[in-house]
Amino acid sequence: MATPTLAEVINRSQHHGLIAWITSQQIFWVFLAAVFACLALSMLTDSFATERNLFNVTRNFAFVGIVALGMTAVIASGGIDLSVGSTLVISAMTVSVIMSAGMPFWVGCIAALAVSLLVGAVNGVLIAYARMPPFVVTLGMLSVARSLAMVLSDNKMIYEFGPDHEFLLWLGGGSTLGLPHPLIIMVILACLTAFAFRQLRWGQHLFAIGGNENAAVLTGIPVARIKVSVYMFSALMAGITGVLEVGWLGGVTTNLGQAMELTVIAAAVIGGANLAGGGGTAFGAVVGALLIEVIRNSLILLGISTFWQGTFVGLFIVIAVAFDRFRQRKS
């Protein structure tokens, strides 16, 4: 009689129900906070729920959201990528310089993404094979990549994009079925990222490395190769955002994406990415980015000085981490 009870115990699920499971997720509360903020703003201001403003919010949040997808992968693997803002600008500059020289869009786009991947590969190799701390490597890259973007463009603004000028502006600034293109692309990338995290061995290994790198090494996971791929993934997301953002702005200067890393890290962390490694979801990154953008937008609409934005982003990171610590102590 002992065996069936053992089998029963083994096959019993840990979760007691859907509602208990949902409310135990940090992301659920963050999502609720974002929805609540939207509702409050719609009532408090006349300008929030206008089509024009919502269009702007969704597009702005899409840029942060796409980069946060890559950042979530890096943070979940136990690292950090401070160079995303600089990767974004070097990608934007590459596509701009090539297109303004009269080349078609696809050449510029492929070159921009290739440059981004190269930036990520350099980060990854230094971190995984030379075993340097991610903080130091990507901080160095933050400076190097932006400086190279200045060299590339001679620090001039570029606003003429050759024969495919209209296409670039349509890609970054246009919309289909009322949805801004960056938002559509973000949703597609978020779905692909979620799939990769959950369903591919790559995702399993990435989270294993973040959870216990030593265990990952001992069980034969190719830790160094996975780490390089994670930093390349993060750089690719930043690179895609760079191309889209040029199209949206219709011009590019070398201060694009400055201090963006902090907003992106905040979005990832608010969305449940664990800075100690091993935790994070694609959906979380998107919802984290949404909450930050809604708050940022509300500060503007409520007439609060934009100087306060940094305070809010900084506080968000600290509060999200404090919240996580508190939960860990409780369990």
Partner: protein, 246 residues
């Protein structure tokens, strides 16, 4: 037939003789308690068996076949599994994911290979049932007891059809009740014909499960006795050197 045989194994680091002519034979399903003071050569011996490094001289035989390990993977392929002291477990993953860590099964959806979670869960449930451990495959390891965590680490060795499992101080840092659980797991492995080498400082644990006790002192094998014919007092004497040889 012996599943593992060591013949005159010596290991030397410069002037230090870490292992000196150690010979040992282990039968299938046998539980061997490997004891000795710190620096007696236990870890070195385990690392030689696990393929972390080659002996300076001597032979290793697996099922009567001479083998040479150049890296841990060679030993793993020959059926030698190690349960590390920290268990090499990821707290953020489920028990099933941990059992299959680094060897996740996949199935194909079109051209894409996806992780086969259903198979991972059912197979780990089967392994936990074999170990008679109440461990649920879907649960996150971070919420588990020390005994359940051991079960996860040991289930991993069953997955690969191990012949010998080396366990480094599995009972060092857990509660009394959990120690009993771990010792039970060791008995389960033995019942499945898997030999276990248990490295431990804890005399009661060794005498509870071991068929035979092996003592190392300064790199020399000073005792290789049936546990039933020895006593904790004798072993203590052998470890410290109060008794020269058994």
């Amino acid at each position: 037939m012996n599943v593992l045989e060591l013949k005159n194994i010596s290991k030397r680091y410069g002037a230090i003789q870490a292992l000196d002519n150690v010979s040992l034979a282990i039968a299938p399903g046998e539980v061997v308690g490997l004891m000795g003071d710190n620096g007696a050569g236990k870890s070195t011996l385990v690392k030689v068996i696990a393929g972390n490094f080659a002996p300076t001289s001597g032979d290793i035989l697996i099922s009567e076949q001479k083998v040479e390990f150049h890296k841990p993977l060679d030993a793993q392929k020959a059926g030698i599994e190690v349960v590390y002291q920290d268990l090499a477990i990821c707290n953020n993953l489920s028990a099933a994911s941990n059992v299959f860590l680094g060897r996740e099964p996949t199935r194909k959806i079109g051209p894409i290979k996806v992780v086969d979670y259903a198979f991972m869960r059912s197979k780990s449930a089967e392994l936990f049932a074999r170990l008679k451990s109440e461990t649920r495959p879907r649960d996150l390891v971070h919420k588990m007891s020390g005994g359940q965590r051991q079960a996860v680490a040991i289930a991993r060795t069953l997955l690969s059809d191990a012949k010998i499992v080396l366990m480094d101080e599995p009972t060092a840092a857990i509660s009394v009740r959990q120690v009993a659980e771990v010792l039970n797991l060791i008995r389960q492995l033995s019942d499945h014909g898997i030999a276990v080498v248990l490295i431990s400082h804890r005399m009661p644990d060794v005498f509870e499960v071991a068929d035979k006790v092996v003592v190392l002192r300064r790199g020399e094998l000073v005792a290789d006795k049936k546990a039933s014919q020895s006593s904790p007092e004798e072993i203590t004497g052998l470890i410290t050197g109060a008794i020269e040889h058994a």
